[in-house]
């Protein structure tokens, strides 16, 4: 059971590190965007093509990147966390 406790703590740390990393990614993405809005209004107003400015493009990218981070985490957790949870729960059941 000591092994299980260790495995659980390893898993908990792995999840915690991923959660912190992805939260930081979101902070960088969104606050990067906000600070550009605050400090570089002209830059964001620069047109790329008619009807599209740098700002609109980056804003849409924030939405797309938010989706990407969500998708990444769900795939990561489905692949790396669920199996381990199943294994630990089965061991716990088997030990009884």
């Amino acid at each position: 059971m000591i092994d299980d406790l260790q495995a659980l703590q390893v898993l908990a740390r792995k999840r915690w590190r991923m959660a912190i990393a992805l939260s930081m990614v979101m902070v960088v993405i969104y606050f990067g965007f906000l600070l550009l809005v605050a400090f570089n209004k002209e830059g964001l107003g620069t047109p790329i093509v008619p009807g599209l400015s740098v700002g609109i493009f980056l804003g849409a990218m924030v939405i797309v990147l938010t989706w990407a981070v969500t998708l990444f985490y769900v795939r990561w957790a489905n692949a790396n966390v669920d199996e381990e949870i199943k294994r630990l729960n089965a061991r716990r059941g088997g030990a009884r």
Binding site: S23, L34, V37, A38, G45, A60, I63, T70, Y73, V74
Partner: protein, 515 residues
Amino acid sequence: MSAPMTAVGEPNVTAITFFFLFVALTVGITYWAARRTKSTEEFFAAGRVISGRQNGFALAGDYMSAASFLGIAGLVSLSGFDGLIYSTGWLVGWPVVLVLIAEPLRNLGKYTFADVVSYRMRQTPVRIAAALGTLAVVVFYLIAQMVGAGNLIRLMFGLSYDMAVGIVGAVMLIYVIFGGMIATTWVQIIKACLLLGGALLMAILVLAQFDMNPLHLFAAAQAKYGDAVLAPGKLISNPWEAVSLGLALMFGTAGLPHILMRFYTVPDAQAARQSVFWATGLIGFFYLLTFVLGFGAMVLVGRDVITGVDVGGNMAAPLLAEAIGGKGLLGFIAAVAFATILAVVAGLTLSGAAALSHDLWVSVVRKGHADHVEQLRVARVATVLLGIVAVLLGIVFKGQNVAFMVGLAFAVAASGNFPALVLSIFWRKSTTNGMVACIVVGTVTSLLLIYLSPTIQVDMLGKAHAWFPLRNPALITIPLAFVVGIVVSLAKPEADALAAYDGKERRMILGVVED
């Protein structure tokens, strides 16, 4: 193109028909749900049988309020780019909910987020503090929705304000009292489909006039109102203000009681995870649509017509519906907006009722010794009380700025509830005193600083100066709540809470397995 004549504000037969269809359908579902609501597990958590995808739609339904539909479309129609600041801010909170909150919450709690914060702690103090944090958020959010409902319905259907508020309160109470979370969940799912469907239909009709290319639409707006519509405008002038607003938007979502409560309706943590994935996809898509609708209204309706009907621009989307689809589409969109408010109010009321009955009555007053019949009865009484309070507040706060109230709710949620959740879930040394101090300080200081902010002191009370310079307090109050929570916890360690951490961590990761 921009005809000064509009049917907005007149009683609209299509709107009334669609609204009655919606109410008939949802009351039918409530009848079905009522027969399945026999225990508190069903009343507060829909028996935990909602699938991840269903819960994703319901989360989106809970989150996409009329404020975002009408408010963001209006903001975009009047200032273009600036609308993106809000819509991105409201979306980026979701990955935070996903990676930090959703799964631990599902595994550790029963009905409320207080279950999670109080998990290793002494129940009474933490429950009282968390119920306080919950009710503060619920009340401000309810005021925003009720005031929005009153204005919207007056403008759209020509009904009186008080009557509109009364109707929302009465129909919502039918859902929640009889159908509990089962009915509320399905109302949210139907509403999410209607709102997304309606917004998508409108976006397609708008884009059809611009070769199905959003860039042609934006270019038309540029030609009509100048390059400024595609660049940042007046919304963000002070970088500190920008960061403070951003913090409240980003971390507020993870502290909204009615959103957190939804994670208890799914069977396990995996389903909780899938549900955020669906919700993020749907909400992001919805914000992209509102952006198109805002620009559509700017070009096809015109700013002067929009501000002529409502200075805040809140009627941009309905006016656009009328411009592209006539009275029929206007009626449909009006009914969808009404349904939207109804659904959000139902979700809020249910989460407030859970705090009152599960946290305060069952856990604090009865120390956990209340049978199912009593719990269910108290839950329904709490629901009725909150419904009455919501209607009264809606009438008292008539004329208040809706966006401001929503901002307030997010600031309190981000400063009071979110830090306590994170510390209690992930930090071994957190203690009862620490969590109580964290919630109380976060909630009280954010309320106090909002009172001292230019929004209240200068805009509402007409003073020359405000003591606190920022309109949004989150920049100060979120770090403050974390620091207070940590310092108070370290000042007096709690052996029981420390010892219980390993067991809590096991349950947080593995879920509830009998052992």
